[in-house]
Structures are given as C-alpha cells and as structure tokens.
C-alpha cells in the first residue's frame, strides 16, 4: 500500500516537473500549452493523493478544462500557433541572468522548506461527502470572502468584454 502510494507520488511528481520543463522550452505556443495541461493533470493527481479530492477535480475542470482552453482559443483567434520570428527567447545575457535568478530563488525556497514541519494532523477517513469538509468553512468562516469573489468575477467579465471589444 505505502509502496504503491510512494511510487505513484514520485512518478506523477516527476511527470509534473518534466512537463513543466518541456513547457518552458517549447517554441510553439500550442505545444507549450499542451505540456502545461499535462503538468496540471499530474498536479491534480498529486492533490488527490494528498487528500484534497475535491480540489483535484476542480483543478482538472477549471485549469485544464477552462483556463487552458481560453489560452488555446486566444492562440487560435490571433493565429499565433507558430513560433515568433527571430526565436522566442531573450538575448543570451538576459537568459543567463534569468537562469541564475531562478536557481537562486530555487535555493532560497529549498532552504526555507527545510525547517522542521509539525506532525501530520490525523486525516479523517475518506468518506462519501468529501465536499462537506471544504464547504463548511467556505460558507461559514469565509462567507464574506466568498461573496466578494462574485464581485471580482463580475468585474473580470465586464473588464474582459470592454478590453476585447473592437470599438469602445
């Protein structure tokens, strides 16, 4: 049981990181988007393995299913499916600096992550109503934030329509 859990956890972690690397290095936006979808599916598996079943499904529905489709839709709409003329990467000096900054950030994050973690809280056994455990705090403690979210979404809809309209 634990062997299979660890095996699949590391397998999907490896797939997620490898797909992310492939995503950053692809020239064509469509190929990059498909690699990113791969990363998101593997992350959804990791979420489910970490005990967040609802979030895992939402990840597939919202990220892989909706957000990435919007990205691909814009690529199609603007006819950007081909790599940019003159390469898609910045000058080699900027590239080296960016890589160094990324390595520095990674080192910082890894050092930060090395501090001692508290013990796992006992997870409740997987039950039929996985959604209840997340819905209860969402609609009690965080009700105000939840309502404000609807205003945010309305503003985003109006903003997107106004910005993308041909003539204001």
């Amino acid at each position: 049981m634990t062997f299979f859990y660890q095996f699949f956890f590391y397998l999907f972690a490896l797939i997620a990181v490898a797909s992310a690397l492939a995503f950053v290095t692809r020239k064509s936006p469509v190929a990059a988007a498909l690699w990113l979808v791969n990363t998101m599916f593997s992350l959804a598996v990791l979420y489910i393995m970490l005990g967040a079943q609802f979030i895992g499904i939402i990840q597939i529905l919202v990220y892989a299913g909706a957000i990435m489709v919007v990205f691909l839709f814009v690529v199609m709409l603007l006819n950007l499916g081909h790599p940019l003329a003159g390469g898609d990467l910045r000058r080699s000096g900027v590239r080296a600096l960016g890589g160094l900054l990324g390595l520095g950030l990674l080192a910082e994050l890894l050092v930060l992550g090395r501090q001692k973690l508290p013990a796992l809280i006992p997870t409740p056994p997987i039950q039929a109503n996985v959604v209840n455990s997340i819905a209860a705090p969402l609609f009690n403690e965080y009700l105000l934030a939840f309502e404000v979210t609807s205003v945010l979404l309305l503003a985003a809809i109006v903003g997107a329509v106004v910005l993308a309209k041909r003539r204001v």
Binding site: A16, P29, L36, T39, L50, A52, F71, L105, L109, I134
Partner: protein
C-alpha cells in the same frame, strides 16, 4: 509526503519564474504565471495536511483569482495585438524611456 510536495512546489515555481524571465511571447509568459499559481496551490494543499482544511479553501480562492486574471489578461493581450500586430514583448516598448 508533505516535505516532498514543498520541494516539488519550489521547483515548479522556479521553473515558472525562469520562464517569465527568458521568454518573449506574451501568451507563454502568461502561462508561466499560471504555472507559478499552480505551484503555490500545491504548497497550500500539502500544508493543509498539517494545519487543517483552510488551505484547501484558500486554493479555491486562488483558482477564482487565476480564472479572472486569465480572462482580463488575455483580453489585454488581444487589444495589444490589435495595436502592434504582435505579442512579442520586445516590440511592445512604448513605456521605454
């Protein structure tokens, strides 16, 4: 598995940052931002194993903000494309002194 998840999250976040710094295509830079948001979500979910369900509630809010950000950002990219006929960030330098 929590410590491993935090390491994976750090690696994914760093990959996203490097992507933002070295790519020139505005759409791919946007996707790198989404990758960074996903990395943070993984941290939240791993830490919700230690500190309770609040982390998962936060992830829901992060996903909402990410969806709103993607919609507005892509609309901005469309309107920039109308002006410049390009999404290459090296051609978009009106604010450059």
């Amino acid at each position: 598995m929590v410590a491993e998840s935090l390491i994976i999250s750090a690696v994914l976040f760093a990959i996203g940052v490097v992507g933002v710094l070295i790519r020139r295509n505005a759409i791919i830079i946007f996707m790198c931002v989404e990758l960074m948001l996903n990395a943070v979500n993984l941290s939240f979910i791993a830490l919700s194993r230690l500190y309770g369900i609040t982390g998962q509630v936060f992830v829901l809010f992060v996903m909402t903000v990410a969806a709103a950000e993607a919609a507005v950002g892509l609309a901005i990219i469309i309107s920039i494309f109308r002006h410049h006929e390009s999404v290459d960030l090296q051609n978009i330098n009106i604010l450059k002194g």
